[in-house]
Amino acid sequence: MNKILAVIRREFIERVRTKSFLLGTFLLPLMIGLFGYLPQLLIRRDVSTRGLIVINAAEGTAAERVVEALRASRIGEGDLARPRYTVILLPAEGRAEVLRDSIVRTIGLREGPPGAPDGLLILTEASVTEGKVTYLGSNVTSIRDMSAMERLLGPMLREERLRRVNADSAVLRAAELKLNLDATKVSEGKLTGQSAEAAFWLAYIVNLVMYITLLLYGMQVMTAVVEEKSNRIVEVLISSMTPFQLLLGKVIGVGAVGLVQLAIWGATGFYLTTMLGSRTSGMESLAVDGTAQSLTIPQVSVELVLVILLFFLLGFFLYSALYAAIGSMCTTTQEAQQANTPVTMMIAVGMISMFGLINEPSGTMARVLTFIPFFTPIVMPVRYAISPMGTLEVLLAALDVVLGLLAVTWLAGRIYRVGILSYGKKPSLKELWGWVRTR
C-alpha cells in the first residue's frame, strides 16, 4: 500500500512540476479568457457617447418621441451609465435635403470626441407610415450601432403610427408584445426549469470535456508506461512491487493530476463566465438582437456533476488500462502513438455519437451505446445532461462499466506484466494471447 502511495506521489509531483503542466493549467484558461474578452475590449470603442443630429420632416410628435427615446438610452448600468447619444433636433421646415447637404458639407460627420455630432438621422412622413428612416454617418458598418438604433426607433415609430389611427393604450400595449418561444425541458414528468438551448450547450460541453479528458489523461498514462519501459527503470520497480501495484499507482497519480487540472480549469472557467457574464450584462444593450441575453450559462445540477465525475473516473480507469497495455507493448513513444489508434477511435465514436443522442436521448441507439462499456463513460453523462434518467438506470450503467473495467483491467494487467519486460518488435495478436496466458 505504501509502495502504491510512493508511486502515486512520484507520478503526481513529477508531473505537476513540469513546465508543460504549468503552461497547460494556467495558460490555457488565460488564453481562452483572452479570446473571449478581447473582442469585448475591441468593441469598446463603439461604446462612447455619439453625437446625433435629427432632422425632423415628419408631422406630429414622432420626432419628439424618437429624440426622447434616444436621450433616455444609456450605455452601461448604475454609476457607470453614460448617455448613448447627445441629440440635436432640427426642424426641417420643408428643406430637409438642403439642411442635410449643408450639414454633411460643413460638419462632415467624421468621428470626433465623444458627443461631437457624427451621425445624421432624417425622419420624414414615410418614417411613420412605412418605417423608412434615413441615417447618414461614418459608423454605418457597425452592426451594433445600427441595430441599437433600429431597436430604439422601431417601437417609437410604431407607437406613433398606431396613435394616428386612434388606437387606445390597451391596443398599444398589446402591440408591443414580442414572440418569445420559451422551450423548457421536461424530464420524468417534471419541469426542469432548464431551457432547450442551455440543455444543448450543457450536453455539448459535457461531451467535449469527457472526450478531451479521457483522451488526454489516457495518453499520459500510455506515455508514462512507455517511458518507464524505455528508461528501463521498470525492472527495478517490479522487483519491489507487483506490476499491478505499479500500474495502479501510475493510473491514480496521473488521474489525480488530471483532477487537479480539471479543478483549476473549472474554477477559472466558472470565474471567467461569471465575471464576463456580469460584464456582458452591463453591455447587454449592445447585443445584436437586443434581448437581454448575454452568455447562456447552462444550469448544472449537483446530480449531473456527480454523474460526470462517476463516469469520468470509470472511463478514465477503463481507458488508462487499455492505454497502459498499448504502452507496454511498445518500445518507443512514436510506436505507441501509432498503436493507440484503435483505442482513440473508440473514444472518438463515443464522442461523435453525441450528435445522434441529442436528437433522441432515449432512442434505441442511445440505449445500446449506454450498455457497451467502452462508450458508456461518454454516452451516459451526455444523456444525463440532455434528460436525466433514474438512479437505477445510472447505477446499472455504472455497474456495466465496472464489469467491463474488471475484464479490461485483468486483460490489460496481464499484457502489461509481460509487455514491460519485452523489448523489440511489437507482438502479433497470437503472441499477445500468449502473454495473457503466461503464468
Binding site: R10, R232, S240, L421, G434
Partner: protein
C-alpha cells in the same frame, strides 16, 4: 545448518519458441560472494528474474532466506541491480534515490537520509539536486548502484554489475561489493568476465544453454576439475611451440594465446616430459609453472567452444 539464502529447485522457464532455463537447481549459502557465470544467452538474466519473482518459473520453485514469501514479498531484504540500467532522466538524483528507497519499503524521511549518505560515499554529493539526465553515464550507474544498496539488503543481486564501467569506477564498485560481502551479507552477481569472478567469488555456478554445468565453492570446483595445468610463456619460435602443444600424448587441451598458453596435460603425461619437449623445440621458455586450473579454462572446458566467440567479443 541455517537455510541457504537462495535456493532454487529445478526451475524452468520457456518463452515462445525456446527454453531459456531448464531444470536449474541452485544453492547459495549465506554470506560471501557468489558468481553466476555463463556465456551470453545462457539464461543468467532469466534465472535472476526468476529468483526475484519478476517472472514466474514455469516449473520448480524458489525459496529465499528459507522463507515462504516470493522475491517480491521479501524485496525489502533484497537489493537488485538489473543488467539494463535505467533511471527517470528528468528526476532529481536525490528524489530518484528516495523513491527507489520508498519502493523498498523505507519511509520517505529515512530514504532521503540514506540516499544522501550514499551519494556522499560514491562521490556524488554535489549532484544530489541535479537532474539525472545531467549526469554522465558512469555517474548514473553509481546512482543506480546506490539505489540497490541503500536499504542495506541482506541479499544483493547484481546482473552484470561491472559492465560498461571505466577501470576506476569498476574498482570503486568492486570494493563496495566486497565490503558488503565481508559484513556477512550475501552477494550474487552474474558476469562473463572470468577474472572478476576468479578474484572475488567464494562460490560460482556456471550455466550454459539454460542448464547448470557446474557449481560449488570455487576451491572445490578447481579441486574437482583436478587436472594438472601448466602455465607457459615463450619468447620465440611460436610455430615450434604450437607443434609441441598439438601433441595429444602430452597435451589434452591448450588455451593458446600466442606467446603464452595455459594447457591441460594429457592423462598420464608428466610435466617433465612437456618441459623437455619445449626445451628441445627451443621456444625461449620464460615461464613454466604447474598451476591450478584458472576459472577461464574451467569455463571453456565445461561450456565448450560454442561460447568462445561470444566471450572474446565482450571481454
Amino acid at each position: 545448518m541455517t537455510a541457504p539464502v537462495v535456493f532454487a529447485d529445478r526451475i524452468t522457464k520457456r518463452f515462445a519458441g525456446h527454453t531459456a532455463v531448464r531444470g536449474l537447481s541452485l544453492t547459495v549459502p549465506g554470506g560471501g560472494l557468489y558468481g553466476l557465470l555463463g556465456p551470453n544467452g545462457a539464461g543468467k538474466t532469466t534465472t535472476i528474474r526468476m529468483l526475484l519473482n519478476i517472472i514466474t518459473p514455469d516449473e520448480g520453485r524458489v525459496v529465499l532466506f528459507g522463507s515462504e514469501g516470493t522475491g517480491r514479498d521479501l524485496s525489502e531484504r533484497i537489493g537488485y541491480l538489473p543488467e539494463e540500467r535505467g533511471l527517470y532522466p528528468k528526476m532529481k538524483v536525490l528524489d530518484q534515490l528516495a523513491f527507489l528507497g520508498e519502493a523498498k519499503g523505507l519511509s520517505r524521511w529515512d530514504a532521503r537520509k540514506r540516499a544522501k549518505s550514499w551519494l556522499e560515499r560514491l562521490g556524488l554529493g554535489e549532484w544530489t539536486l541535479r537532474k539525472v539526465s545531467d549526469l554522465s553515464k558512469g555517474m548514473q550507474q553509481k546512482v543506480q548502484f546506490a539505489g540497490a544498496l541503500q536499504h542495506e539488503p541482506e541479499l544483493l543481486i547484481l546482473d552484470e554489475p561491472f559492465s560498461g564501467l571505466d577501470p576506476v569506477n569498476s574498482q570503486v564498485m568492486r570494493d563496495v561489493v566486497v565490503d558488503v560481502a565481508r559484513s556477512g551479507r550475501t552477494v550474487l552477481f552474474s558476469t562473463h568476465i572470468m577474472e572478476h569472478a576468479e578474484k572475488m567469488c567464494d562460490g560460482v555456478v556456471i550455466i550454459a544453454r539454460g542448464e547448470k554445468v557446474v557449481d560449488g565453492p570455487l576451491a572445490q570446483i578447481k579441486h574437482e576439475f583436478g587436472k594438472s595445468h601448466v602455465a607457459l610463456t615463450f619468447s620465440r619460435n611460436q610455430a615450434a611451440a604450437k607443434r609441441v602443444l598439438a601433441d595429444r600424448n602430452l597435451v589434452a587441451h591448450a588455451d593458446d594465446a600466442g606467446a603464452s598458453a595455459e594447457i591441460e596435460l594429457a592423462v598420464g603425461a608428466e610435466p617433465d616430459a612437456l618441459l623437455r619437449a619445449l626445451v628441445q623445440a627451443d621456444v625461449g621458455l620464460s615461464r613454466f609453472e604447474v598451476v591450478e586450473p584458472s576459472l577461464q579454462s574451467i569455463f571453456i572446458a565445461k561450456v565448450g567452444d560454442a561460447a568462445q566467440p561470444a566471450m572474446r567479443q565482450e571481454a
